[in-house]
Symmetry: C2
Subunit: 237 residues, 2 copies
């Protein structure tokens, strides 16, 4: 009995199915450690970090830390001052707006291509991931972390399906920001449900191989996601 692509992933953790990150070596230790630190919220946006400090945090020498910092810089979780010092990125509402706008363009394009390229097995995988997402929402209380994981994987599958390495590389720079992830914890159940419904419709568009439909749904999905974020963020003030 052979294992096709859909069945392959059935018994492994969801977050392993779409793995883009090499996981070994001190560079990756540093990357993972620093990223967790930034996403944990313990690092105040705008505060300075030094390579030595990050070296302590991650337990490896400065050399791999420097590589990790470069990567996190390109993902815009870190920024550098004029004199090359390292700071935790501080995203304004306009910055987040622009990020979602870019994602809308690029992921809209990805969805368009995916509609033409996705096979039945791929679509089955998308449904599987979206089931996971639905379950996370329908828990009481909803499991936001599980939701965000499934959501990320759902989008990654589509991005990869577009079979454009350049597009994937560019989108990797526009991942969710700490401020967005933190804000997600206070989304309403209805917000999460609507997101899941968007995914349902996206899958329907893929099944119909309707590129324009897919782009359109992806566009409104991401645009609404921005406003959900913006509302939650302003409520938090």
């Amino acid at each position: 009995m052979h294992m096709d692509r859909a069945s392959q992933g059935r018994d492994v953790p969801l977050w392993r199915i779409v793995g883009s990150h090499r996981m070994s070596g001190a560079s990756d230790t540093a990357y993972t450690a620093i990223r967790s630190y930034l996403l944990s919220g313990d690092a105040p946006p705008g505060s300075q970090l030094t390579e030595d400090r990050l070296s302590e945090i991650s337990g490896v020498s400065r050399t791999p830390v420097r590589e990790a910092v470069r990567q996190l810089e390109s993902e815009m979780l870190l920024v550098r001052s004029e004199s090359k010092r390292i700071f935790v990125a501080d995203w304004s509402r306009d910055d987040i707006d622009e990020m979602f706008t870019l994602r809308q363009m690029l992921e809209g394009h990805a969805a368009e291509r995916a509609a033409k390229l996705l096979g039945p097995a791929d679509i089955e995988q998308l449904e599987q991931v979206n089931d996971e997402l639905h379950q996370a929402v329908d828990q009481d209380p909803p499991d936001v972390v599980r939701f965000l994981d499934a959501n990320r994987i759902f989008h990654e599958i589509i991005t990869n399906a577009a079979r454009s390495p350049r597009l994937a590389q560019v989108l990797a720079m526009l991942v969710e920001q700490p401020v967005v992830l933190r804000t997600a914890r206070q989304y309403s159940v209805e917000d999460l449900r609507q997101s899941a419904r968007d995914h349902d419709e996206l899958i329907a568009a893929f099944k119909a191989h309707d590129a324009a439909w897919a782009r359109s749904v992806m566009g409104s999905h991401l645009r609404r996601a921005f406003h959900t974020f913006a509302d939650a963020a302003s409520d938090a003030d």
Copy 2:
């Protein structure tokens, strides 16, 4: 007599006006040297390079070479094998197609925003650069290098005018590829003239602050550029 932004650049070399690259230190020496080497055409696409070799070429130690390689990897002039070895990128026609498609999306967006944000001084600068470009075309024979320089700066001004650091960063990854630059040498005068006319129309759209017009012209400009490239490349076979 004060110096406004337009007059500031009048006496400095054109390529200095829009400088996004920090120019100092061994890392930049390495970056510049390796990039020149790749663009010179002496490096066969697909061939392997080692850090030691690049270190010899650029005259600095492996540490800054590694940083430069990372940068050139993100600009997709270099690629890495499964085992992390370094190779000169080898772009297929489809890869180039996809690159121009992504540029069309992103620079179309940039043009849209630029149409709203560009001031008279900025537009004057664009005109100045496009004059340069016209002159390069009207020389006999046309000066393709001068043309490409002016063209790059023209597009960079628009990208920067969009005032979206993320957009600029993403577009920096989609710069012109060696194969495109080499092919440009055999563009017909008429191809170059049409390019210059596109720029004229772009400037007209900016003067009218007509975002939709600007996006549209940028779109057809880049799309035609791809076909010009593709035709020239297939002729060269």
